[in-house]
């Protein structure tokens, strides 16, 4: 992944979030407070603007910049969580203008660790982690098996989508949905859904 592709990834995520904002908000209205689409849309619009203005020279700096922008523009639960994920991922990368798939695996792992550390959620709690973690596992396995970025990202996107869908029967233990108790069952988690959009965007821009 080079700098251009990293920026493309963020741009494609922004587009997917914009297109899916209504759906994310509806999912959040069902088991949360109905702002997830608006929150991420505000955030990724700012990310695209920030990257256009600053043009960071390394992949790591692109991701870190995206993270800090989300952190300072989104608010809510998803702002700090996605923000620290991308920031941690960016900082974990070597300061190079292009990174290898295995370096990306390690970076995304650092991002997931940051989310888990900050939010305290575990897999099965019905959060973004339930899309992020299986996506990352699929990505890692594909890379370990020698796949290129395009192939690994496609596997990750599929796993993320499946992970998001798997949140439907879960009972939420973290975030606002946890207040609903049993009533959170039967709805797909908005954060897991937006996480799957990010991995889908990565896959989309990685195909050549």
């Amino acid at each position: 992944m080079d700098v251009a592709l990293a920026r493309e990834w963020m741009r494609a995520t922004a587009a997917a979030v914009a297109a899916g904002a209504d759906r994310l908000t509806r999912l959040d209205a069902a088991i949360g407070d109905g702002d997830h689409g608006v929150n991420l849309n505000r955030g990724f619009t700012a990310v695209v603007a920030a990257l256009d203005q600053e043009a960071p020279p390394t992949v790591g700096e692109v991701l870190a910049k995206a993270g800090s922008t989300l952190m300072s523009r989104v608010g809510g639960a998803s702002g700090p969580l996605y923000g620290s994920a991308l920031r941690a991922a960016g900082r974990a990368l070597p300061q190079t203008s292009a990174v290898r798939p295995d370096e990306l695996v390690a970076a995304l792992r650092a991002g997931l660790d940051a989310v888990r550390k900050l939010g305290g959620a575990a897999p099965g709690d019905k959060t973004m982690i339930d899309a992020y973690a299986p996506a990352l596992d699929a990505f890692e396995q594909a890379v370990a098996a020698g796949a290129g970025l395009a192939q690994a990202a496609a596997a990750a996107a599929r796993a993320a989508t499946a992970g998001a869908e798997a949140t439907v029967p879960m009972r939420a233990r973290k975030g606002r949905a946890s207040y609903l108790g049993e009533r959170s069952v039967g709805h797909q988690d908005p954060g897991a859904t937006s996480a799957s959009l990010m991995f889908q965007a990565l896959s989309d821009v990685s195909q050549v």
């Binding site: 109905g34 702002d35 809510g76 973290k174 975030g175 606002r176 946890s178």
Partner: protein
């Protein structure tokens, strides 16, 4: 959606402009999005900062002023403020004695305030964070997000604010705030859903004769749905839930709070029922407050909050306060 707004995306910014026009006695930083007392920072005084999503007005901006908060940070609607914003407010009120962050227990609020506190620490500002989690509708557990911060936030801000105003140190003010929270419990009912400007439609559908029991203040559905019952019964169920959650073995402060769309005449009727039932249960009411204070946009609903009040809490509750939303003795 019918609201007095111009554009759903600009509601918070434009309301902040209006707040500034309405309250020239306060300092409103529309760029960094915080409201502060005009005389902040006061050297040697512990600063009190709170904040959270918008849509709960008068909480928190309406509680900035002498005897209560030094600053408030309004986030987007139902979305906690961002760390930069909280940091700016923290800086603005730090008089060298440290700053207390009063944070309602929601993942978003907790995380953003935590990040802000870390940034403040980097600048040499000591921050004590106090979590408010009074909503007994939610079961407490270390494995979940825990209880929500609702009506008791007003009591925490008032009492801790009075303690800070009279010169309490950082640890004392934070301890006062934590004590109030520990002594408080709340329970809420919603008759209608709230409509956020961004969503443009009610957060949930509620048939004509059904209500949501155990709601929070973010328009989310409650713990369960039930048939509308007479106010007398709802009050008893709510108070039973609160009284079961904590020991209320002495005088209480009673807050009868509207969620935004409930007329005052209903809140007074509720207050009457609450007073009668508390008398029956042998719980003396030391102080009471009735009104729309901790709201959820246009939601028709109400919450009851009890705080088992020590003499010291009552003394601090009675102390002068001069804010847009709460004012007495000054």
């Amino acid at each position: 959606m019918k609201k007095f707004i111009n554009d759903p995306a600009d509601v918070v910014a434009q309301a902040l402009d209006g707040f500034a026009a309405a309250h020239p006695e306060l300092r409103v930083d529309t760029a960094q999005r915080y409201i502060a007392r005009a005389d902040a920072p006061r050297p040697g005084k512990v600063g009190l900062v709170s904040g959270g999503g918008s849509g709960h007005e008068p909480l928190h901006a309406g509680f900035v002023g002498a005897g209560m908060l030094d600053a408030a940070c309004p986030g987007e609607i139902f979305t906690s403020p961002v760390p930069d914003q909280i940091l700016a407010a923290t800086r603005a009120v730090d008089g060298g004695a440290g700053v207390v962050h009063i944070v309602k227990n929601y993942t978003g609020d907790v995380l953003n305030f935590q990040l802000a506190a870390e940034l403040a620490a980097d600048e040499g500002i000591t921050v004590e964070t106090v979590l408010v989690d009074d909503d007994v509708a939610v079961q407490d557990s270390t494995w979940t997000a825990g209880r929500r911060g609702t009506g008791a936030t007003l009591l925490v801000e008032k009492i801790a604010g009075a303690r800070a105003e009279e010169g309490g140190g950082l640890a004392e003010v934070a301890a006062a705030a934590r004590e109030v929270n520990a002594a408080s419990g709340s329970f809420a009912y919603a008759l209608t859903a709230a409509t956020t400007p961004a969503a443009g439609r009610p957060g949930f559908e509620l048939p004509g004769d059904e209500i949501e029991a155990g709601v929070g203040i973010h328009g989310e559905p409650g713990r369960h749905r039930e048939r509308l019952r007479p106010a007398r019964e709802l009050v008893r169920t709510a108070l039973d839930a609160i009284l079961a959650a904590k020991p209320f073995d002495g005088p209480v402060i009673l807050l009868v709070n509207g969620l935004g769309g409930t007329p005052l005449i209903e809140l007074y009727l509720i207050c009457g029922e609450a007073a009668r039932y508390l008398a029956e249960r042998g719980v003396p009411i030391a102080r009471r407050l009735v009104g729309n204070y901790v709201t959820s946009l246009d939601m028709a609903g109400m919450s009851l909050t009890l705080c088992r009040a020590t003499d010291e809490m009552i003394r601090l509750w009675d102390a002068p306060v001069r804010t847009p939303g709460l004012r007495w003795g000054a």
